[in-house]
């Protein structure tokens, strides 16, 4: 029941919000409801929850099964924390028809939670798509200048990917011994070698588009840049995790042989993506685009670590799923504060933030360190484990991937330098009083960064059971 209510609360709140026309009230409703969801998410993560199982479509044996193992718990926790944080941090932003905006955001949350909790392939697909639809409207209505075309590209890309996955689901479903969509029966499906390869390709395309892996990433920087910042936060903090989650939950356990035989291919692609994105990030002047490319690099590293098939790597990814979400959320919130108050995202026009708003500058430095994965920050733990796995897989790959750490330091510190130091620029001079809401959220996030950085066992405890399942097969 706990799982079901976690799913229902944002959904019901989203419907209620459609009728709350008043901006302030809409804010309160959204924050309160997402706060409740967060509390439930904490409960799920630390106390566990019994799975919820009900008949859905009897004739094809599809079930409405929600269950939470370690991996799901980590991501539910991340989703639970992100949304109230985003709502509070951006509560002062000017947004037309705020209630509709918040309502669509909560629909997205429902979809995301559904994806992470679904234990039935058809249900998974159902939520996978549902998470996409509200984002399409969010970006196209409230986004930047070129929003319509770019969001449409993003939509068609992911939609085609998910349809291919649907074929994959049908392919596996037809070969399950008991004709069911449950993940357990999917694992025991009797696939020939050819079928396994086909299904692997179909699933992989969907997840690769979502993560995204080079060369299917082209939708992402544009979409991040053009989306309204609260949506960008959702996209990069939580939504891209859907792809990685899909790989861990469905791709690797279902098609181990095909995954293993393609490991080199995927790891190579991922590492190319990491380097490619890092180099481009160095050249960026737009803060949003910089963070977008940096995010592609980080995700690429995670996907490389997953395909090394080393348990240490998977463990690292699970920590990093959470850590990357928190870090990138912090960076986006800072970018958003700066954009809201100065009206520009160009780093050339910024400078001297440390003199004008020292607190914000300190927070920026904190999150920048987390982005580079310095020790004591949460990202260090994850990246260390992942590099370890990649090194065991192939030292050469590790060498190339290692370059990305240096590159990350270059572009991140460069960003900090341009924004925080130097003469106080005109744009920064325009900044008013600090945004108390956003700053308090940033402080909370930074506390999470350091707590999980110093004591990662918290996250290991949550995620340990998935690891065993993944490797004991």
């Amino acid at each position: 029941m706990l799982l079901l209510s976690t799913l229902c609360i944002p959904f019901i709140a989203a419907i209620i919000l459609l009728f709350v026309k008043h901006n302030e009230k809409a804010n309160y409703v959204a924050i309160a409801c997402s706060g409740v969801t967060m509390a439930l998410a904490f409960n799920i993560a630390f106390n566990g929850a019994t799975s919820f199982d009900a008949n859905w479509i009897l004739s094809i044996n599809a079930r409405f099964l929600l269950s939470a193992d370690g991996l799901a718990k980590i991501l539910v926790l991340l989703t639970g924390i992100s949304f109230p944080a985003i709502f509070i941090a951006t509560s002062k932003n000017e947004i037309k028809n705020r209630n509709q905006f918040l309502s669509l955001m909560l629909f997205t949350q429902t979809g995301l939670l559904g994806v992470f909790l679904a234990g039935d392939a058809l249900l998974f697909y159902f939520f996978w798509e549902l998470a996409l639809i509200p984002v399409y409207f969010l970006c196209s209505i409230w986004g930047g200048e070129k929003r319509v075309a770019i969001t449409f590209k993003f939509f068609i890309y992911t939609f085609l990917g998910s349809l291919l996955m649907l074929i994959g689901i049908i392919l596996v479903y037809t070969n399950t011994p008991d004709h069911s969509f449950l993940i357990g029966s999917f694992k025991s499906a009797l696939l020939t070698k050819g079928q396994q390869l086909t299904a692997f390709a179909l699933f992989f395309t969907a997840f690769a588009i979502k993560m995204p892996i080079f060369p299917l990433h082209t939708w992402q920087p544009d979409a991040y840049e053009q989306s309204p910042t609260p949506v960008t936060m959702v996209l990069s903090a939580v939504m891209v995790k859907m792809g990685l989650y899909g790989v861990m939950r469905w791709l690797l356990p279902l098609f181990p042989a095909a995954s293993l035989s393609h490991a080199h291919f995927v790891v190579t692609l991922s590492i190319i993506g990491v380097l490619y994105a890092s180099f481009i990030a160095i050249r960026q002047d737009d803060v949003k685009r910089l963070i977008a490319y940096s995010s592609i690099a980080h995700i690429g590293l995670m996907s490389a670590a997953l395909f090394t098939f080393k348990s240490i790597g998977v463990q690292g990814v699970m920590i990093q799923l959470f850590s990357h979400g928190i870090n990138v959320l912090g960076l986006w919130i800072i970018a958003d504060i700066i954009e809201q108050q100065t009206g520009t995202r160009s780093m050339k026009a910024l400078g001297g933030l440390a003199k004008k708003q020292p607190t914000l500058a300190i927070l920026l430095v904190g999150f920048a360190f987390a982005n580079i994965a310095l020790p004591l920050t949460n990202a260090f733990v994850g990246e260390f484990l992942m590099f370890n796995a990649i090194f065991q897989f192939s030292p050469w790959m590790a060498a190339f991937a290692g370059v990305s750490v240096v590159l990350a330091a270059i572009y991140t510190l460069n960003m900090v330098q341009k924004i925080a130091y130097g003469e106080v620029s005109d744009a920064i001079n325009k900044m008013q009083l600090p945004n108390k809401n956003a700053q308090s959220i940033l402080i909370v996030l930074l506390v999470i960064v350091f707590v999980t950085g110093v004591y990662p066992q918290l996250l290991f405890n949550i995620s340990s059971d998935t690891l065993q399942q993944l490797f004991v097969k």
Partner: protein, 462 residues
Amino acid sequence: MNAIIVSTLLGVIMMFVSWGTTSSKLQRSIGLMGMLVLIVANLAQLNNWWSIEFNTKGMLEFNQMGLYVNTILFVITFIYLWINGEEIEKIGNHTADFYAIFFFILCGVSLLTSFNNLLMLFIGIEILSIPLYILTGSDKKNLFSNEASIKYFLMGSFSTGILLLGIAFIYGATGTFTLTTPVVNPITNIPNEHFLMSAGLLLLFVSMNFKVSAAPFHFWTPDVYDGAPTVFTPFMATVVKAAGFIAFIKIFEVQRVALGQGTWMIILPLVIVATLLVGNVTAVFQRSVKRMLAYSSIAQAGFMLFALYGNSTFNNEGILLYIVAYSLATIGVFAVLIKMKDYSIESFNGLAKSNPTLAFLTTLFLFSLAGIPLTAGFFAKYYMLNALFTAGAGIWLLITAVVFAAISVYYYFKLVQAMYFAEGTPAIHPIGKQYELKLWVIAIILLVLGVFPPLLFNYILI
């Protein structure tokens, strides 16, 4: 038998109603009442409460599936008439005549769902088609309507001719009009049929493709759908097409064995791919929404053809769900379109601002057509893909299908983009609350079936 007799009687009654009353409002109410009577009469037979029986010498056969399809199509027709009643009155001077025509068409529909004999098929198709030619040309003073009617009539008669030739060939080969299970040689596994049988079935195949507007026999569709009065187009694109599909499936469910499984597995995928290609790709380039929907209906026919591929239960469930999802969504979109002052995509610009409810409903209908989850269209597509796969189709055919489904999103979403993201004032006639309410009914059916599709077919599985 109930549906056939009652619909004929109702048709005749409607022909003479205008003697009793000249109020078109009253005529409409009588027509709607008649529809309810027809639905109840059909349900009576479906549930074995009461039915008119006489010996048809096996020419007609009323099974659960056929009667259930009747019910579905009658209910769709009822919803269609209920929504479009006022618009129908605006065309021509004799409202009651249109209702008479609808009842005759429904008589044809009930024949097509119950025939067991090729002559009955022929009669059913004729009863269905001739009133349609009239409906197409009913806007007498409009040149396009006339052109469409003539075109439809010429092409339609031609295809009926082919149908008849096919039936004659089959009669020549087997000596009977009855649909029988072909006798298969146990050693060679090839049916013991005369080559005339194969030739006849191929002709039947061509003719049925024409009726359901599958490529390359689709050329009449855009012109007819576009030229016919907008209020009648959704009826032709939904109920009539659906009945065509049911007949198509009924013929080839068993008879394709006589054609040889190999031949079947070659020609059907060719037709499917051609239909998907022509429908989807041409729809992308349309400026007029009405014409775009005409091409989209060709594309949707491509998906419905999947049901012919195999003969598992998925087929039947899938085609039922597809018919309902596609028909209701199409009727819904047309109900909005008819309120537009012109049919260009631009006329939808800014609809979300001026009329958010209507824009939301239209979006929902388009989502269902595109097959996006939470709407019935998704499960319809899912069942079809599943049926195709279970029937042993190659993965490439499924991939082709979903690529085209992604293309269809492109043109359906053009309308969504116009409504939500484009600036402008929509050129729309005022819409009453009551009209919106009717559209909500469709929307809710689509949503409910989008979450619990079995609600639709649990009834016949019991």
